[in-house]
Subunit: 205 residues, 2 copies
């Protein structure tokens, strides 16, 4: 027994945190592999190596498991945005973000959630951590988009919100997995292809 109850408590909390991190990592991977509907809670428990009932002591529902994974992804996005070179142009930053999200997707680290499931949407919208992260990321990207449009680098005739959605959509673009399944290109080539179609378009220039 430790002589210091504070240290002891902190240690227990660390163990708790570590276990929850393990759970969220597993959920993140399974969500990326098979999507929300196909992922079962039994499977998560088995992969983490604990009983299903123990999972429910940490997270009250399957939806909250997915929300926790999304919170983690949002945190990573915020960290990535914060780490962007300050002297890069707004367009270069946006390009870097899109490259990063596509890399996550190809690496099997991007959770894929059905945009239609209403109970999941409700849980996500009710999760303050997730919503705060989403709003922060959207605000920062939106600011970059407007700067890039004023500089004439991003088409100023497109509504900024349409540009934002288009960038978000690249994070779950089926073209990535199709090209990967084709086996003709490696991950880096695939990313550059989709970067080209996204920013340059299909038309010749």
């Amino acid at each position: 027994m430790s002589a210091n109850p504070i240290v002891k408590l902190s240690f227990k909390e660390q163990m708790l945190q570590a276990r929850e991190d393990a759970i969220v990592s597993t959920v993140n991977r399974l969500l990326a592999e098979k999507g929300f509907e196909a992922m079962t809670v039994d499977e998560v428990a088995a992969n983490v190596g604990i009983a299903k009932a123990s999972l429910y002591k940490h997270f009250p529902s399957k939806e909250d498991l997915a929300a926790a994974a999304m919170v983690k992804v949002m945190r990573r996005a915020q960290d990535f945005l914060t780490g962007l070179a300050a002297n890069d142009s707004a367009l270069d930053k946006l390009r870097a973000v899109v490259r990063w999200t596509m890399g996550l997707k190809l690496a099997g680290e991007m959770p894929s959630l059905p945009s239609q499931n209403s109970t999941l949407r409700t849980t996500l919208m009710g999760n303050k951590d997730y919503m705060d992260g989403l709003i922060d990321v959207s605000d920062r990207l939106g600011a970059m988009i407007e700067v890039a449009q004023k500089e004439g680098l991003i088409n100023p005739r497109l509504p900024a919100i349409a540009v934002l959605y288009t960038l978000y959509a690249r994070a779950c673009d089926p073209v990535l997995e199709f090209l990967k399944m084709g086996g003709q290109h490696n991950d880096e080539q695939i990313i550059e292809l989709v970067m080209s179609t996204c920013f340059d378009g299909l038309n010749a220039r």
Copy 2:
């Protein structure tokens, strides 16, 4: 009783065909509304107005219901391709096809299937009508893409298969529903926005 067994048989077949058409239409709508996983067979039966067991006399599984809907969509796509103005350029035809698919999606007539579900994939790949249609449509689009690339209208540095996937992806682009939910634009404006990001890209020209 009809005096002519041939007429009688034909009539019965017509009734059968009409009922199956009603089933497929309902499936198509439900797949567009809620996706494959969220659509239940009970729901399909209730919407058609027949018992669930009767459904299974027409189609052996839920996957085959979805496949039938996809066959119908493929037929519509083939008809659309056939009806394209012969004097239009390859690029104009491609643009018309993409516009048409996005219109279907916004009208709630484009079935949305999970690209991950393996049993569904198996059923689809085993469905000759679907596969024949898919290959025919892909061949025709592929030919247009190569022509447009040789004419210098589509970026020749992009692999044709990447262009094809990019066009297919516009038929299930979440940007369409996001912009629709925003309520700032009507369907036609949304289509023109996504047409612009697809062919012209996000960059200013």
